[in-house]
Symmetry: C2
Subunit: 397 residues, 2 copies
């Protein structure tokens, strides 16, 4: 039986979920893994704070050096959040040969390349299933289940809070403000909802997913972002009349040596699988060269859902802990910019306006929306430059 020593960095919502899952399934996990799993340290800001779990059996510490200097550690699980300081801790741990599991999308969206490179050099594991779409095993699906496929396009609902708000607006006729208040009350939205509502959380996940899907490191700036603050009930109604649902879609296309990535409110035909992903749920739609279209659906947040993803990474690391198999995938250089692909647009006017683009005349008005199918990138840019109309891209037709 292997003897596995773990440090947990952080004991908030996700950390508590991880401890709960490990405690409740201890016997079965240890038997399956043929390993004794010991949580040796838990790093917290305040060791005296009341916790949702019984902490007596654990060594809580507010001194990170207890962990950084413990050379018996096999695995560190990072669920503390934060970027710069946390990155410094993880780098030091990995340099010492400690395998790392992290749920920290904010950090990965910025430092994925350095961490993956370090993991490859040190031949240790770096796992981050929990960083994208919470409990949905999407990282595993792309890395393993779909690894016989070239992936050219993925799109998904990566943020549960904004999806909850759009669902409340579309299905219950609420205004944005009412829906946001409901999300806050249910704990789906933070006191400051910026990261969720303005698409930043989804943007981070698109950057991570693009790496997995295309073997391509990307910066946050490579992914255009627009949130849902400007989506009105009227837009939702007008789109609905034409058979579309408005969702906050994160997506990326890859073509030859170029990638186009974005997060923005997007129209989907009501018969599309993603159009029925409502309220706090996430789902990712992936188009594989061999398998065709596949979709993965589930809860993108929550203590146990996210903890489930962390523990699945943990089991994977333990199972293969002696194999030193971490390698960087062979990746090609990609320049991120808009691809010259045909697009479909829904154009909504704030006032009655007639415009001509590339020979097509379009009249929009306050209560009308117009579909513009199969337009070139050049025409798209022309329409997008107008300031008296609102434009939603249509996907999935």
């Amino acid at each position: 039986m292997k003897d596995i020593k773990i440090a947990l960095l952080g004991l908030g919502t996700v950390g508590t979920g991880v401890v709960n899952i490990l405690e409740e399934n201890k016997l079965q996990l240890e038997k399956t893994m043929d390993a004794r799993i010991t949580v040796k340290h838990i790093f917290v800001k305040n060791v005296n704070k009341d916790r949702a779990i019984n902490t007596e059996r654990y060594h809580l510490t507010d001194d990170i050096n207890d962990i950084l200097n413990d050379h018996t550690l096999d695995i560190a699980i990072e669920v503390m959040g934060g970027i710069d300081t946390t990155y410094h801790y993880l780098k030091q741990l990995m340099t010492s040969g400690v395998h790392v599991i992290t749920a920290n999308k904010d950090l990965l969206a910025v430092h994925l390349e350095e961490l993956e490179t370090l993991a490859a050099e040190r031949e240790i594991s770096l796992k981050y299933e929990a960083s994208v779409a919470g409990g949905i095993p999407i990282v595993n699906a792309i890395n393993n289940g779909l690894n016989a496929n070239g992936i050219k396009h993925f799109m998904g609902i990566f943020n549960g809070t904004s999806n909850f708000i759009l669902s409340k607006m579309a299905l219950e006729g609420q205004s944005f403000e009412e829906a946001l208040a409901a999300a806050t009350e249910l704990g789906y939205a933070e006191a400051d909802p910026t990261a969720d509502v303005d698409g930043i959380d989804a943007q981070r996940k698109v950057v991570i997913t693009s790496y997995l899907a295309f073997n391509q490191f990307m910066t946050l700036d490579d992914c255009a972002v627009e949130g849902i603050r400007n989506v009105t009930s009227t837009d939702i109604k007008l789109a609905g009349e034409l058979g579309y649902t408005i969702k906050l879609i994160g997506q990326a296309y890859a073509e030859n040596d170029r990638v186009e990535a974005s997060v923005k409110p997007t129209c989907l035909p009501v018969h599309h699988q993603l159009a029925h992903v409502d309220y706090e749920y996430n789902a990712i739609y992936i188009d594989g060269s061999a398998v065709g279209d596949t979709m993965y659906y589930g809860r993108g947040a929550g203590s146990l859902a996210t903890g489930s993803a962390v523990v699945s990474d943990l089991l994977h690391v333990i199972r293969y802990i002696d194999t030193k198999l971490h390698t960087l995938p062979p990746h090609f250089e990609i320049e991120s910019k808009a691809l010259d692909r045909s697009r479909h647009l829904l154009v909504i006017g704030d006032e009655t306006v007639t415009k001509t683009f590339a020979g097509r005349t379009v009249t929009t008005g306050e209560t009308t929306a117009v579909e513009l199918l199969n337009v070139s990138t050049a025409v798209f840019d022309e329409v997008a430059a107008l300031d008296d109309v609102k434009i939603y891209e249509i996907e999935g037709v």
Copy 2:
């Protein structure tokens, strides 16, 4: 660089897909795996038959001994179908230490326990992603992505042909016969559609999925089966009026030491994720103890989709070929029988009839359907015993 020698047993639809994927992605796969992959033999019935691929570069043979006696082989991929003879070949290969990948659900539904036990004894891999839901990486999702979860229930659309027929009936107003003819014309249904239409194909997949989800070997007889031949356009219309869609659902519940498994036409509320899985698509819905409800959607059949699953297994075996990690999961004894759970029924009468069960009076008629919510197993049995009404179980409410 590792040198991996493969034998392919069978060169039909799936075998051709496997060869296509290996040829088209040869360089990238070999670089990613750090392995040279050689298909050393392909076992076929007729070496002279015209093939969709160029077979000149391969050693085609109709003598299985070329493969059974080749002690340089690392991996056998079985996509030839058949049960008894094929089982004999696989057993012999595995006994010689050859890792096995199979897409053969007919064989696995009968011999999974013997093969898993043999794989554990010999410390080799036995992989069968392609046997359930084609290209959807569901085996990988349960074995890896969700392995921190206890699973108590799964349900899914496991058969694309019958789902295609039900979709044609529900969405295009076709009769069963018209829809079956359309399925046959498109190549979704075989000349003899029995296995698809009568639920037998789905039953095999439920038996395999039950093992993955519950660590429980089951026989085909443990899974009650009913196909879609008796689902009428009237049933679909009546269910629709009450907000339900009729789907052929394969599912299993586990509770304490008991399992209940079935394949049968089932009502789903129209807002349920599975209710929107139409035409030839498959989807599996899994309820995990930590992650909550998740769903996996995609094509359940086809040369490349199924080939994609086979090749993902192949890459997994190659990656971990030296680790000898195959072990049987710790599993508990389960007695398969109906669980004493609360059920929801839709009762449709062939003629006007009034019945009283457990104090509830129900009147049904040729053009009416009645919902019977929260009935006990005892009442369910009472209703099911009637021969003048038709009963659909309702799930997902």
